[in-house]
Symmetry: D3
Subunit: 137 residues, 6 copies
């Protein structure tokens, strides 16, 4: 029987700035445009965490979505919600906080908290019109 995927949607609000420290301010402005504003800007991020596996025969759950929501709150929202991603977190000290890199960081934060038999996928909306998925397939 094929696997089932279950997904939980969560939200967080954060400030960030796209910025490569090895580059001059002028190069950062050329490459990242207004996303490199030195005083930061911010987003309401919408996060979708998908967990794929076999439903338990008795409960019918792949994973209890209440439990998944608690794990996301503990591991992701407590770190990133109402924070400045560049200044207040350890994840983006050396890494540019693009949507791609935030999605990879969230995957890495969650992977060890989900049973290894279950697959994990992250979808992150930076705005209603820009979003990323990791892993892509």
């Amino acid at each position: 029987m094929p696997d089932v995927a279950v997904s939980r949607v969560e939200h967080f609000n954060a400030a960030h700035r796209l910025y490569v420290p090895e580059w001059s301010d002028e190069t950062n402005a050329n490459i990242f445009g207004k996303c490199s504003n030195p005083n930061f800007h911010g987003h309401n991020y919408m996060l979708i965490v998908k967990v794929t596996g076999e439903p338990d025969e008795t409960t019918g759950f792949v994973i209890d979505l209440k439990l998944l929501s608690d794990i996301i709150k503990q591991e992701v929202l407590m770190r990133f919600d109402h924070k400045n991603l560049n200044l207040d977190t350890s994840e983006f000290k050396q890494i540019n906080p693009t949507a791609e890199n935030i999605a990879i960081a969230i995957y890495n934060l969650l992977r060890s908290k989900i049973a290894p038999a279950l697959q994990l996928k992250i979808t992150l909306y930076e705005t209603e019109r820009n979003f990323v998925e990791y892993p892509a397939s």
Copy 2:
């Protein structure tokens, strides 16, 4: 040439209760929390049915979405809309009506009504923030 997928979105409203009959009420309450309220609660389910195949050379359709909508109404909405999934349906007499199990039941109801050359996938939103997919890939 790669296949094309077409999807139709439908809605139904139903009551349910998460409940394993072999368990005591206390165990059901511990595992399923307020989702096990003995008097039921309910949802506006959003259902997405995806059909994948080769578009017909003349019409340009993989499947006529009006026809697909009629099949979903006949096979799924007439069974589940404005019903109590635990009490009013045969599908969830022995099986816990989790979103996972409802998606699998909908797949099984529709599979024989869609031409075998076409692939079928079900996505079911229980709330805006909890949804499932079957098969997962």
Copy 3:
């Protein structure tokens, strides 16, 4: 200076049945159709609570939306979320749980918890396509 309105969106999931106890089952079925299914059906209700008044000169708040959210959780969600509105609540023992009557009940539950100088308005979505407002203006 004109007043400012602030709104908070919350959600709850409940079962209900439209039903007038003085009527026969046949009359209930004729008037309320499948909404009168004896075993109940359910909805994801979306609730918007609007509070109107003058923003505080120092804080800039009409009302702290975190506080408003807590009041709604305490007064409305604890009563109605994951409940059967007909069987599990005192509000709909004698009154038909139409969206209109649920909105009026929520207004009455919240009115005394909000400062009298502030105006209150309830908007309640029963589905994405059916919603009510009280008071209307």
Copy 4:
């Protein structure tokens, strides 16, 4: 004949911090919670500008929504989009950038750019679940 209202939806992304300079950091943290994080957080603001009046007999327009969109971009988005509302704008040097105060500021920026015979109303979503209206009626 009654008036007609036309509305245009726009979006901007900004960083901000709720903060009263006359208060200690401790008081700011007590009153504004995580919204007072010193390194800022941010939002995708959704802005709805409503203009009410009589449609022109020939064109059928109350106001050309393309023109209204251009005015909003010129007056509001160029000031606030991808900015830090506390540091990068003159409007919130002395005023706390709550959603209420941002809506009032946007009203004041737009009022003189819209013909006096037309009424103006601002709706501002800070998140999907928190929004404000000015003037309230």
Copy 5:
């Protein structure tokens, strides 16, 4: 006791062209831009019909939303859905099919079908970002 408002959301898809027949093609293009493309373009219109009054003491309904939906389908959708508003309807032979004028036409089509004691208001979305209301208040 204040009145209650109930609203029903419906959708229709139509082609149109903004065009004043007394004007030259050049003037039409200058004023209406690409909305005046001679071969038409089209929209998915979202229509919200709001009816305001006193709920019936027994049923709890201001108006049965199933009945309201049927009236809208009969009077509006059968006229406008999958039609060319300029060519296929009598309403826009002499009148420019702006969102403002379509909302007024819908109001006029529905007004006599709704009991006179009930107030009526039309909201029409031409796109997700452009919408109109009639009457405005």
Copy 6:
């Protein structure tokens, strides 16, 4: 390390008619129903363009979404927005403008503008309830 997918959402409004020129008007009406109205109808199309690959180590971008948006505007929106797909475009002179065929046409317009190392996928919503994906997997 797995690939990352980034997506950009754009919108366009167009008129179309489903129609096979080799068929009689009667056959077209039988097969395509009201979608074959000779005077056309129209839609607000929502287009999602997904690009999959490895993020650049320095910028953290798979592709700059501002650049992707510009490519979509240049190649797709300038061709299709506010146009009659049957009459105003070369793509649908011989091919029925079903959602399936529009998605394939958009894929073909964009494929050569995106670096060959990157995968491309098109999702096209014709209405909120009907959408297609190409390639399907």
